[in-house]
Symmetry: C2
Subunit: 307 residues, 2 copies
Amino acid sequence: MDEFGIIQKYFAPLAKGYKGALGLKDDAAIYTPTIGKELILTKDAIAQGTHFFGNEKPEQIAHKLVAINVSDLAAMGATPKAYLIAMILPKSTDEQWIAGFTEGLRSATEKFGGHIIGGDTVAHDGKMSFSLTAIGEVPSGKAIKKSGARQGDKIYVSGTIGDSYLGLQILSKKLDIKSSYLKNRYLMPEPKIKLSIKLQGVASSCTDISDGLVADLKHICGTSGVGAVINTDNIPLSEDAVKSGVSIEKLITGGDDYELIFTIPPEIKAPKGAFYIGDITKNKDVLFLDSNSRPIKTAKEGYNHFS
Amino acid sequence: MDEFGIIQKYFAPLAKGYKGALGLKDDAAIYTPTIGKELILTKDAIAQGTHFFGNEKPEQIAHKLVAINVSDLAAMGATPKAYLIAMILPKSTDEQWIAGFTEGLRSATEKFGGHIIGGDTVAHDGKMSFSLTAIGEVPSGKAIKKSGARQGDKIYVSGTIGDSYLGLQILSKKLDIKSSYLKNRYLMPEPKIKLSIKLQGVASSCTDISDGLVADLKHICGTSGVGAVINTDNIPLSEDAVKSGVSIEKLITGGDDYELIFTIPPEIKAPKGAFYIGDITKNKDVLFLDSNSRPIKTAKEGYNHFS
């Protein structure tokens, strides 16, 4: 089956609910913005061997691709509307794989909202990689930025930290425990879009935790020109993470959580699903305190390409 | 230098003119649509070994990536506004290469219009590949689609056909002639954005020639439910293409021209820079006639992945 056949058989059905996608038969898609809204645009790429193994189910790879991009929209408080995909595939890719991948795209976009409205497919001699452009909408002026944290704001996370890191350790055979929960947290992340909508006009800053809690909190503090003190005893951990016996330093630097970390001024009540972990300070240090209020030293501060 | 260092040193300057890019420090960019305009969204990917050799200057690869995406915007009559880039690079990529690539992005986006407002960089064990999402604007309802060609419309192209195909043949050492003009047409395509703006409200259909004149005219005819008769003597050829002695069949099926092919109702005057090549017919055949009005047979009908 040729490229146009694949587009019409597997991708066009995903675009069906979006008139401006023009059935994926045109050079580009037409997007009609909603009056009173601004668009939020993000684009994350994943490559075999770096972000995924390649032997996962194609449905899982597709889910993760959509989820990590939707997580960036959630970080800004935006509602997912549309996606454009680029697939770089080995020439040997068979139709069954593509069928599974597009089924994963269908199920993820149905779950999180929005339609595939365009993209490109390339067959080459090499490994798989993918990028997705996600387009969301927020009421004009309501996008939540990293830069809005102020002294005295309370710091929250949206769920348990370190599960995805542990899942990756299990899948890489570096950690010998059984937990399909932890593996699933790595393979099938769930962006916090419902909570993120409640943060509009509530959170002073927000980002999603992809590089690790420590690194992403430092991004908030760096762009906001503030510091933070975190009581690590407050950081929510799953039962399986506690049982694993892995140190808190590793859990908060591991990355790939796709939870939200956000700040809320002290006079505003946090929505349900927000876990208080510490406070924004004027002093620009970002400190993680143990049970005895002593700062923890973290050697690795999140994942960084080219480092 | 780490990923964040590269973003701030090389990519942030490209985003400087666009406030919503937030200095590339946030999770996503904020795009404020112009009132009365619709957005045109496209995303094309290029991979080493498939769309480029890899030993080109990084500036040239960047130029081509921007140009082929802008060409898709031009095909719809849209003005370029913003771009998001994904770069999948070998781990061995050095800073000098990235400096050259971003210089190519700067020069192309300055030339064609619009700003880089986001993206992602991945280092992996493998070859280079890139995707670009291009965002353009058209007055609402004015996007030119492939599907609008009607019986009696005249068919035009925006420039000489087959030059890029010949350039690729020279660069691949399959054609032994000297022509920096032809090589340049392959390496540094120039999307026809100025002409495309003049086609708003004038052309009944349009697409850019990336898969070859034959294949792309068939896309117009297929989506419009019409046919075409082309007099191949009318197809504009460069002096170097004529001198090459390569057959017209190869020139019109080679692809990568990034010229526009469009249709205009007979009562409307074509703008300057439009070359008349034939007519839209009710009969759904797409015929290319030689000097004796005999149909030419074209074996290969444009480039197709997975075929």
